[in-house]
């Protein structure tokens, strides 16, 4: 068991339970994620991928089942700050400069100034923003803001990084660049990553495994092993294997959709096929 970072066992989530607007957001989720693994959650809008991420983060409680993070309950893991989190909006505090933003989780942990300074130096180096330490967030480009958000998420050296469409608001060029940056950061730190996305190429490029989900009710329909190897680079995006895995994920998404709909020949809504 010690090599698993996250175990989700029989988890389900019902919103507005017991009312007329009751929604099964997730049912029967079983998922184990190993330490150091990069796992993407992909699926159309409403498939519960963000909900699953928030169950793992203990930002919402499961209606049934158990979530274990780092060998303890998700609630305890949150209190111990065993994970860092990054969202689609960088969510930087506009009244704090880059360094102060990165130091926020350390401040909340009660680190003293010297410790914080040393760690934020390290993080600024990691995301290649050392010369922007004193800039305010609104003075940075979207990609740079997202890098600050990642630095903030990793500042306390959490073993687990949870990301909810972190590159969703970036343009395609910046996005691909950020994907490579993220891979190299994870290679350096050995962090386990759970990454929510609705882009198939992004999921395939980044992940060891792609978890394919389908909506109403939200559930896992397939898990695609990517096996592109640890040394991915920009050229990986052009090899045949990359396209094969993209096809695998696309077919898994379609299968998930056809299981629900008779005419399911089209790609589910909210999926980018780029």
């Amino acid at each position: 068991m010690s090599d698993t970072a996250v175990v989700v066992a029989g988890a389900g989530k019902v919103f507005n339970s017991g009312t007329a607007s009751s929604v099964d957001a997730l049912i029967d989720i079983d998922l184990s994620i190993f330490k150091g693994e990069f796992v993407s959650l992909i699926g159309p809008s409403g498939c519960g991928k963000s909900t699953l991420l928030r169950l793992i983060a203990d930002l919402i409680e499961p209606s049934s089942g158990v979530v274990t993070v780092n060998g303890k309950s998700a609630a305890q893991a949150r209190i111990d700050q065993d994970y860092g989190m990054a969202f689609q909006q960088s969510g930087l505090f506009e009244w704090r400069n880059v360094r102060k933003n990165i130091e926020l989780p350390l401040e909340l942990k009660g680190w003293d100034k010297a410790q914080r300074q040393a760690r934020s130096d390290e993080m600024l180096e990691l995301v290649k923003l050392a010369e922007f330490a004193k800039h305010m967030p609104w003075q940075l480009s979207g990609g740079m803001q997202q890098r600050v958000a990642i630095a903030r998420a990793l500042a306390a050296h959490p073993p687990l990084l949870l990301m909810d469409e972190p590159f969703g608001a970036l343009d395609e060029m910046t996005r691909e660049h950020m994907q490579s940056e993220l891979l190299s950061i994870c290679a350096t730190t050995g962090t386990t990553v759970i990454f929510v996305t609705h882009s198939i190429p992004e999921a395939v490029y980044l992940s060891d495994r792609v978890v394919v989900m389908s909506p109403r009710p939200g559930r896992i329909t397939a898990i695609v092993d990517v096996k592109l190897g640890a040394n991915r680079s920009e050229s990986t995006r052009e090899v045949g294997e990359f396209y094969e895995r993209i096809t695998d994920v696309r077919e898994a998404l379609r299968a998930g959709e056809t299981a629900r709909r008779a005419d399911g020949a089209v790609l589910p809504m909210g999926i980018e096929d780029r």
């Binding site: 983060a57 930002l59 949150r78 209190i79 700050q81 994970y83 860092g84 989190m85 969202f87 689609q88 909006q89 969510g91 505090f93 506009e94 009244w95 400069n97 926020l104 989780p105 401040e107 909340l108 305010m136 609104w138």
Partner: protein
């Protein structure tokens, strides 16, 4: 370069605009005084045009001259000094009132944002509190204070401060309440992910995120506190304040018309001074913020 130059010329224009508007106002005043009917005039049968006699519209030069003379014949200090002294007194009361009003308003907003039920329970009272004319409240407060002063030795000026803050707390409470709710949901989620407590989230996130709502609220609170203090000075006859000067000089309006205007100038300058103070505080609050929200 061009942007910089244009912003500099804009500043320059801003600096010249205020004295220029002053001069224009003076010209308009004197111009109408020369042209307009001395006994006032009717427009479509309505008595609309103001009288232009020296009693109703004294010459500006007379008002300025009046500033140099003592309050009463043979008095020691010139009226300028008397008015200035009164302004200082009223300004201090207004500052006390606005500080108290901000403290009460923000505290109320914190409690209301924490407990929905308090917000619902309190909102009608807050609205009612702002519809009661302060002139009606002033004697009431003075009455209560008179009782308290017998027991505790409280001073009359406390009533003016209380009424000033009574007007100032409302815009502050409303602005702060909106501001405290304005934090991005993603930011709140982020604080949750750090298992940050309610107080920590309040100080690290909600207060800083509310600043762009607090700044305009503070402007309103500053103006309200001055009105509250001056009006209650008039209504309770608080001795050294600008309100008291307006009251006593208006009784001499027929014999010494420019005198009343000196006190009115004082009240106007008092408002400007408070606005300047508030602006300085605002600048401090908004430093390092993107320009859009500062505007």
């Amino acid at each position: 370069m061009t942007a910089r130059r244009s912003s500099r010329s804009l500043n320059w224009r801003r600096i010249i605009m205020f004295p220029l508007s002053f001069v224009l106002l003076g010209v308009a005043w004197e111009g109408y005084k020369t042209v307009g009917p001395a006994k006032g005039g009717k427009v479509f049968g309505w008595q609309l045009l103001p009288k232009t006699g020296d009693r109703e519209m004294p010459h500006i030069l007379d008002m300025v001259r009046r500033l140099a003379h003592p309050e009463v014949r043979g008095g020691k200090d010139s009226i300028a000094v008397v008015v200035l002294r009164a302004m200082t007194y009223s300004l201090w009361l207004s500052i006390l009132a606005v500080v108290l009003g901000v403290a009460i308003g923000v505290s109320l907003a914190v409690v209301m944002s924490r407990f929905r039920i308090v917000e619902r329970a309190l909102t009608p009272y807050l609205i009612v509190s702002q519809t009661i004319p302060i002139v009606a409240l002033a004697p009431l407060v003075v009455g209560i204070l008179a009782y308290v002063s017998r027991e505790l030795g409280a001073q009359k000026w406390i009533a003016a401060v209380a009424l000033g803050s009574f007007l100032a707390f409302f815009p502050m409470a409303m602005g702060a309440l909106r501001g405290l709710k304005a934090a991005e949901p993603a930011s709140v989620e982020l604080m949750d992910s750090y298992a940050a407590g309610w107080w920590t989230t309040l100080f690290k996130l909600r207060f800083p995120a509310s600043v762009s709502y607090l700044a305009p609220a503070l402007r309103l609170a500053g103006a309200s506190s001055v009105v509250g203090v001056v009006v209650s000075e008039i209504s309770i006859g608080l001795q050294p304040g600008v309100g008291r000067l307006i009251l006593s000089y208006s009784q001499e309006a027929t014999t010494d018309p420019p005198k009343l205007f000196t006190a009115v100038f004082g009240a106007g300058a008092l408002g400007l001074m408070m606005a300047g103070l508030v602006l300085a505080v605002e600048k401090m609050m908004m430093r390092n913020r993107p320009l859009e929200s500062a505007a």
